[in-house]
């Protein structure tokens, strides 16, 4: 019975064409860290102090997901004007929280493209929309929408939790999260937390432009290049 319900939900998300257009604004929060500062090395203390400033900036940005019936686009709207930023280097890092660049998702092609600059190049990182969540019956309401909890494990073994609403049956979500049987309104990844604060549904179709610039690469291939770069940095350190 449980499997049948899950299949119906997935079928609804990918094959039923109700009109859905909207903009969701999310806010970032960091789940507090109660680890013991006394056991930290000096370099770890420096890292903690730096990250606290990063999170303070990250809380000021707006995290936007625009969607229509077939596509979505996730991007960040900066919280401060350049002349208001006290520490540009820390501020720049705050824009990396919950993913660098923009995320485009396409339901029919089951495709995600993350356009971002890394390794001194602009890339369009291709990935597929996968329905690999473990669905639960745990529910709550977010901004009037009934949401269900789903989770999966990342490569490192930690749980990623999302709350999605079957009331908007689209497989989209913020920051590259996708494939749930409804729009994702909340994400908890390690200690990072992104939650919908405003949902605006539109009658007219929202036009979404697929990113057109950047070299195409698969997620797997890019990860391999990034590990290679890291390894070179480690070897350079030893010279």
């Amino acid at each position: 019975m449980k499997k049948i319900i899950i299949l119906i939900l997935i079928f609804r998300v990918f094959f039923i064409n109700a009109q859905n257009n909207g903009i969701i604004e999310y806010k970032y929060d960091r789940i507090s860290d109660n680890s013991q500062d006394s056991i930290k090395s000096l370099i770890q203390q420096q890292a903690s102090k730096f990250l606290l400033d990063v999170y303070a900036y990250a809380k000021q940005h707006k995290y936007i997901l625009k969607f229509n019936n077939n596509e979505s686009l996730f991007y960040k709207e900066e919280g401060l004007q350049s002349d208001e930023v006290e520490d540009p280097s820390t501020y720049r890092v705050s824009l990396l929280i919950f993913g660098k660049g923009i995320y485009y998702q396409n339901k029919l092609k089951r495709l995600q493209i993350n356009q971002k600059e890394t390794l001194h190049k602009l890339f369009r990182v291709r990935d597929t929309i996968k329905s690999d969540w473990i669905l639960t019956y745990e529910k709550k309401t977010i901004l009037g929408y009934k949401c269900y909890k789903a989770k999966k494990k990342c490569k490192c073994g930690k749980d990623i939790i999302v709350w999605y609403t079957p009331e908007i049956p689209l497989p989209f979500g913020p920051a590259g999260y996708n494939g749930a049987p409804g729009l994702i309104l909340e994400v908890i990844s390690f200690k990072d937390h992104l939650k919908a604060k405003k949902i605006i549904l539109k009658k007219n179709k929202i036009e979404i432009q697929e990113p057109l610039e950047g070299k195409f690469i698969t997620k797997k291939k890019l990860e391999a290049l990034q590990w290679e770069y890291r390894l070179k940095a480690m070897q350079r350190r030893r010279k």
Binding site: L42, I43, F50, S89, R92, T118, C156, M234, R237
Partner: protein
Amino acid sequence: MSFHNFYKINLTLSLLIASVSFVNASNGNLTIKGNEEPTKKEKVERIDPATCWMLADAIEVQHCGHVGCDFELWEDRYETCLSLVE
């Protein structure tokens, strides 16, 4: 031994070494002229260039839990640090 485990061991050792070099740097290898407060740039310049790799790793691990979980964050910190010390 997998590359991931090798990397983890390397990181642990590196953090220990980096802590020592940090203490050395803070204890007078470099002096600050006058009574002015050191700026953020001066603080970074006192770090040995080799520490950039370890500092970037420490920031990444504290942010998302393990080495390799956020390459772009690591990349930004590593390259920014290198640009200040080289």
